[in-house]
């Protein structure tokens, strides 16, 4: 790659600054009191206080909700990646009756606006007794995460030469043994990237998550919406909670940064 000049660096710095400003504003708000926030513009907190964070850490509703959110996101990520792996392999390596239609049908599930299907989802999960459990949300999020996972993984599978499959077959590997022992390590990079995307889309979605839960499995975002109504807007508390919602995602991206930096063109290069 050619060396980066001065101009691109300045451009990048400006972009990163613009990206961070709203986030800085959120952090700024979380350290100020409500009266202070509403009273006027202030570029930094004059009397910073971590009070709002301690309030959240000491309140069992908030702590429990944070655990719930992490649980269903984790379950969803594991299910999505696990079932998408063999499917991505099949779509890339074989032709079969209806393959192209099936692939596009999977993608169409990404195009169903959650706002429309929230009520039917509620009916469905209520009927089968999963309402208000982490499983309801984890399964519901499969609707859009599995297609995304198949889509991304298919790209990674296409980067692995088919000769490897053939050599393994000649060497007497059965399909499951080949798939787990040889193939999965080859696309470990792709699994990491896919898991990141599944984590992200499940973590930020909250319309379905809120509709499918009541008290036991209330997600973090739903607890946030509750503090809207109680005694007006508690901006400072909302901001503190908002800052906390960024942490798990930041941790996950830190773990997959090498996979992204290693690069993937999704296909033969």
């Amino acid at each position: 790659m050619t060396r980066t000049g001065v101009l691109p660096r300045i451009g990048l710095a400006i972009y990163l600054l613009a990206l961070m400003l709203p986030i800085y504003w959120l952090v700024n708000m979380s350290l100020r009191s409500n009266e202070d926030i509403m009273s006027g513009l202030s570029l930094w907190p004059h009397h910073p206080s971590l009070g709002r964070y301690f309030f959240i850490f000491n309140d069992s509703t908030w702590v429990h909700a944070f655990g719930v959110s992490l649980t269903y996101v984790a379950i969803n990520t594991v299910i999505s990646v696990t079932v998408a792996l063999p499917a991505a392999y099949a779509f890339n390596r074989y032709r079969f009756v209806g393959d192209k239609h099936l692939f596009f049908w999977l993608l169409t599930n990404l195009m169903a606006p959650a706002s429309v299907y929230a009520m039917p989802f509620f009916n469905l999960y209520y009927a089968i007794g999963l309402f208000d459990t982490v499983w309801a949300v984890a399964l519901a999020h499969c609707l859009f995460n599995i297609p995304v996972a198949v889509w991304i993984l298919e790209g990674f599978v296409s980067g692995v030469p088919r000769e490897i499959d053939e050599t393994a077959a000649i060497d007497g590997y059965s399909f499951p043994r080949f798939f787990i022992r040889i193939f999965l390590p080859l696309i470990a990079n792709g699994i990491g990237v896919t898991a990141f995307f599944c984590f992200m889309f499940s973590w930020v979605e909250q319309l379905l998550a809120t509709t499918l839960t009541a008290t036991n499995a209330l997600p973090f975002a739903a607890v946030m919406t509750r503090s809207y109504s109680a005694a007006g807007m508690d901006w400072s508390l909302l901001a503190a909670a908002g800052v906390l919602t960024m942490i798990p995602g930041a941790v996950v991206i830190w773990f997959v940064r090498h996979h992204i930096a290693k690069g993937f063109a999704l296909g033969r290069v």
């Binding site: 390596r93 079969f96 596009f104 169903a112 930020v204 919406t225 919602t245 690069g263």
Partner: protein
């Protein structure tokens, strides 16, 4: 490079089918069911044929005009957002560092906006865009611009576009960056020997290699902008007037606000059909281009 025909591959796809059908089929059927019925009083439904659909697709009726308006607004929004996000995303990806500790740090910073739950995004901008206590609104007002995201339709519309650009350009950046990193150094060396300029390298080497990641980025972004709900709902509430009433917002207004299930259901089916058709056209064009280039 013909793939072998093997119908046993269905066995590998079966688990995916099972999970997705479970969540897709029944809710979809419920919506279809409502779209052909009308309601009289509590829980008394009768067959209504295609009446909801005919009303909806006729711009002369009230609901038809409303739908057409929301559709045009939404298309304009999606096109604007994509036209900004895709070139910007690729440009930023080209500027990112390639080695050293800054790589990881920059990637985390860039990904942050995407990892914020959508209602929190709305909350941030609700304050951030205010003229009295928010930095963004105050800065624009300070520059002498007539900016008011809750009163002025143009400001409101631009605010939603800016939020979307802020929120989702990182997706294009991450995918493009990964695509760029996958290009072997030999390609660049060959280009240098040929004396190719920066622009020629971009057009002939980098852009073709980004093809597959860009298909994912553009299609995902199109679908998401076409279904945008939370951000306008929280920040502008679809207003002022109906300046930011996009399709999803309008739909929820009809379904939950007016409890008009027949209208809402037929509207969501047509809406879904439009999204699928547009995505299909795009998907086909992109894959055809890819095939032609490989031949």
């Amino acid at each position: 490079m013909d793939k072998p025909l093997n119908n046993r591959a269905w066995l590998l796809v079966a688990p995916v089918l099972l999970f997705v059908l479970f969540s897709a089929l029944l809710p979809m059927m419920t919506v279809v069911n409502y779209s052909v019925q009308d309601q009289m009083g509590e829980n008394h439904f009768f067959w209504n044929g295609d009446a909801w659909f005919r009303d909806l697709l006729n711009p002369a009726t009230e609901v038809g005009a409303r739908f057409a308006g929301a559709l045009v607004r939404n298309l304009a929004f999606s096109v604007t957002a994509l036209l900004i996000e895709v070139p910007l995303g690729i440009a930023v990806a080209l500027c990112l560092p390639r080695k050293g500790w800054t790589v990881g740090a920059t990637l985390v910073v860039i990904a942050l906006p995407m990892l914020i739950p959508w209602n929190v995004v709305g909350t941030i901008w609700q304050i951030f865009a205010r003229q009295d206590i928010g930095l963004f609104g105050a800065a624009l007002t300070g520059l002498g611009l007539h900016y008011n995201d809750t009163q002025d339709p143009v400001s409101a519309w631009c605010t939603i576009v800016i939020i979307d650009v802020w929120h989702w350009t990182p997706l294009v950046v991450l995918l493009s960056y990964a695509g760029l990193r996958a290009i072997p150094d030999a390609f660049y060396q060959a280009a240098r020997i040929d004396g190719a300029g920066r622009w020629a390298v971009f057009i002939n080497i980098e852009l073709p290699k980004l093809h597959k990641v860009l298909v994912i980025a553009i299609l995902l972004r199109f679908m998401q902008t076409f279904m945008i709900y939370t951000e306008p709902f929280v920040v502008t509430g679809g207003g002022p007037g109906n300046a930011t009433t996009f399709l999803s917002i309008d739909l929820v207004k009809i379904a939950l606000g007016q409890v008009d299930l027949g209208n809402a259901a037929s509207m969501s089916l047509i809406y879904n059909l439009i999204t699928i058709t547009l995505s299909w056209i795009f998907f086909t064009i992109m894959t055809q281009l890819d095939r032609r280039r490989e031949e």
